[in-house]
Amino acid sequence: MSETSLSTTPIDENIRPRSGEWRRSLRIHVRKYPIFWIGVIILAVWVLVVLFAPQIAPYDPLEQSLSDRLEPPSALHPFGTDELGRDIFSRVVYGAQISLPTSFIVVIVSVLVGSALGAVSGFMGGFVGGVIMRVADVTLAFPSIVLALAISAFLGPSLTNAAIAACIVVWPSYARLMRSQVMVVRSFDYVTAARSIGAPEGQILVRHVLPNSWTPIIVTAALDVGNIILLVSALSFLGLGVAPPTPEWGAMISLGRTKFYQWWLATFPGLAILTVIFGSNLLSEGLREWLDPTI
């Protein structure tokens, strides 16, 4: 799908070297799908922040200094300092190391588990398939935050448990997506033919189902990166997430909210969450535009 949109553009092949050709098609792609690229850039910046946190952060995020507490933003502390005199900029930067990897891991696990279960359900049908889809339906009947709240309350507050709660909440949508793809593909003549000549189910899955189903899954996954960051930070905000003194955005907002004269305490971690979710929304919309032009 993507190849078609790229290759139909006229290329002056005689003069341009191959790298230039690549750059040019990229430029055209950027012009055609700006939303996608803005999303990519926002998230890429955050990924760089995660990778180079120690280089970017001017201070240790845990280092306290009561004599410098609640300093407003300045050249020394670009985002100010918090109630224990910790540098908020550094805490926001290190906070990315908590939120983003958690979110990525949850998405990857949910995609793998969800689509595996969905595929199993689609192929096998019968009792097992029915049970899997029932469980998925039940889970989807709960608004995610309510279910996550209940689960992490029962499991006890910690980052791991918040991530587990997020996985439990998120996997069913992938199971459903995958199952519907499998059902569609199964009805295709060539698959029926492949089955009748005794091709193993696994082979059919890899050869025919996966190539067709990755588009909706990747679009949903991009959106979920932001959703999970929201979910985990909401749990932390309510005191059901990350343990102190770990710098986590939701917890930072929660602790900063009573000090509304010191607006910088809650503002910057909030902006961090906002930009990540915004980036993930843009990426998802852009991917949809690019990969699935029917919508």
Partner: protein, 534 residues
């Protein structure tokens, strides 16, 4: 028609955006606080915190604690009491001619009914009446209470709102009973949740959980009439919203504060702050036992069973930083679990930060480089407006300086308490709130290996237990004070319970509110408050 609906929409949108023009009616006092602890407003069942304020407004106790001197017991609807030589029999004499809000006279029978009902309901606050063996009505105005054993703190216990005197006729009318089986047969709770049957300056007229409690003036009150026609207690979640509402004049008074906001409140000419000496303690507890209480438990990693290690930790905490930095000076701390202001409490014996000494003690105990594997357990809460999370982060940093590596484990308070009660916690930060103001309120719970937090942390010290018993039953005030000071010092040496914060109660209010007086048991007395300049 089309134009009409368009007009309607515009009007609607306009009201939504501008809000209603509010007509100012009778004088209402709005107090914003967290009411989410309220479970019931029946004095025989309620055992929370906000209900104490409400019960104090709607009911009377026989005696009161003096607002000026908290160690003094003063008459209320009882003129006074007499104690027999052996300390077993207390005789209370009621004032003459007093009436409940209903118009019924207050009699000795009401006292007997109220306390017998409290005992027989077997509810959470029933233990206040535990010392009572028998209650006898001598005449209309005299009641004689016999105790199971001498209990010098009894007059103080009668001031707690659970021991309030209820209008027996009204309570019985609504299904109340003082019979042995009252726990099953008494059905007055539902009515008492929404109404009151007392003689206090206000009458409870409604409670919407998580939203509001409404009190109206008791025109039948035996003292001078209260200043406010209505008092509304509004439920608020946090200091953030409470203070914004206060600054905007939507509410009159709140007990939600954040120490860092007080300076800003003081800078606002429309607002002022009142400080109350609270007796709530927040303490660090360190188990002297090598492993959790359950049999066959794995031993803990961190060597807190060494007394010197516990003392080293006590020396490492930056108390000044916590009290003056985080709490902005709106807090103090005693030496042991006897708050400042309580008999025998002497702050001169308390731990001060001394990193060198802490390191030396660690070295003596055999840990010159410190150790790791220590878990600090906390629940949810915010002593003095500073969240537990922040205090825990501070303690982690302080202990890191002497080489002790700590991780924090935060749980919902109910889980935290469950684990604490099961003797599963080695190192924790928790709080203790009194119900009445006698030293036994602390020494009964922090001393004996089979009771209260002492049991939970596995404290088993004969010295402490002996001193606690001696002091509790000592009737001579001076000797009692002396014994309690000794008791406190034994605690300091043991370093199992180390109080960190005795936060002041900070109330923020509009400047036109006058007559506010803080009480450590019922906190706020609406009766004494007036609005100036009306």
């Amino acid at each position: 028609m089309k134009k009409f609906s368009a007009l309607l929409v515009i009007l609607l949108v306009a009201t939504i955006i501008t809000g209603p023009a509010c007509a100012q009616e009778e004088d209402v006092l709005i107090f914003a606080t967290g009411t989410d602890d309220l479970i019931t407003l029946d004095p025989g069942w309620a055992y929370e915190s906000t209900n104490l304020t409400i019960h104090h407004a709607a009911y009377d106790t026989l005696l009161n604690v003096s607002t000026d001197d908290l160690s003094k017991i003063v008459p209320n609807i009882a003129k006074g009491y007499e104690m027999s030589e052996d300390g077993l029999v207390y005789t209370f004499t009621l004032r003459e001619g007093l009436e409940f809000a209903s118009g019924n006279p207050i009699t000795a029978e009401d006292v007997r009914f109220s306390w017998t009902r409290l005992i027989n309901l077997k509810g959470n606050p029933s233990f206040y009446a535990d010392p009572i063996a028998a209650i006898e009505v001598v005449d209309d105005l005299t009641v004689e209470v016999t105790l199971k054993e001498p209990f010098p703190a009894f007059p103080a216990v009668t001031t707690t709102p659970a021991m309030s005197i209820l209008d027996s006729a009204v309570v019985i009318e609504h299904g109340g009973t003082d019979a042995e089986d009252a726990a099953e047969t008494d059905t007055a709770k539902d009515w008492l949740d929404q109404n009151s049957a007392g003689s206090g300056p206000f009458i409870l007229t409604g409670w919407v959980p998580n939203a509001e409690v409404t009190l109206v003036r008791n025109d039948n009150y035996w003292g001078k009439p209260p200043a406010f026609a209505r008092v509304i207690i509004r439920d608020v979640n946090d200091a953030n919203t409470a203070l914004q509402q206060l600054e905007r004049g939507d509410i009159d008074i709140t007990d939600f504060t954040d120490p860092d906001l007080i300076a800003q409140i003081l800078a606002n000419p429309d607002l002022e702050v009142a400080i109350g000496q609270s007796l709530n303690l927040n303490y660090l507890a360190m188990s002297p036992a090598p492993s959790p209480g359950a049999e066959g438990s794995e031993p803990w990693i961190a060597p807190l069973w060494e007394k010197k290690v516990r003392q080293a930790i006590a020396y490492s905490i930056d108390y000044t930083g916590i009290l003056d930095g985080l709490l902005q000076g709106y807090a103090d701390r005693p030496a042991a679990m006897l708050p400042l202001g309580v008999q025998g409490s002497d702050p001169s014996a308390r731990y001060e930060r001394d990193v060198e000494k802490a390191k030396a003690l660690l070295a003596e105990a055999g840990y010159p480089d410190g150790f790791g594997g220590l878990v600090l357990s906390i629940g949810t809460g915010a002593p003095g407006g500073v969240p537990n999370e922040t205090i825990a982060a501070k303690i982690v940093a302080d202990l890191a300086e002497v080489g002790i590596q700590v991780t924090v484990e935060q749980q919902p308070t109910s889980n935290f308490l469950t684990a604490y009660r099961a003797q599963e916690l080695q190192f924790l930060f928790a709080g203790w709130t009194p119900d009445y103001l006698d030293a036994t309120m602390w020494s009964d719970y922090f001393s004996y290996p089979d009771a209260g937090p002492a049991y939970r942390i596995q404290l088993d010290s004969e010295t402490i237990a002996d001193l606690a018993t001696q002091a509790a039953f000592e009737t001579d005030p001076d000797t009692r004070t002396e014994l309690y000071t000794q008791y406190q010092n034994a605690h300091v040496d043991e370093a199992v319970f180390v109080p960190v914060i005795q936060a002041q109660s900070v109330y923020a209010m509009r400047t036109e509110i006058t007559g506010f007086a803080y009480n450590p048991v019922y906190f706020i007395d609406f009766y004494s408050i007036t609005r100036a300049g009306e």
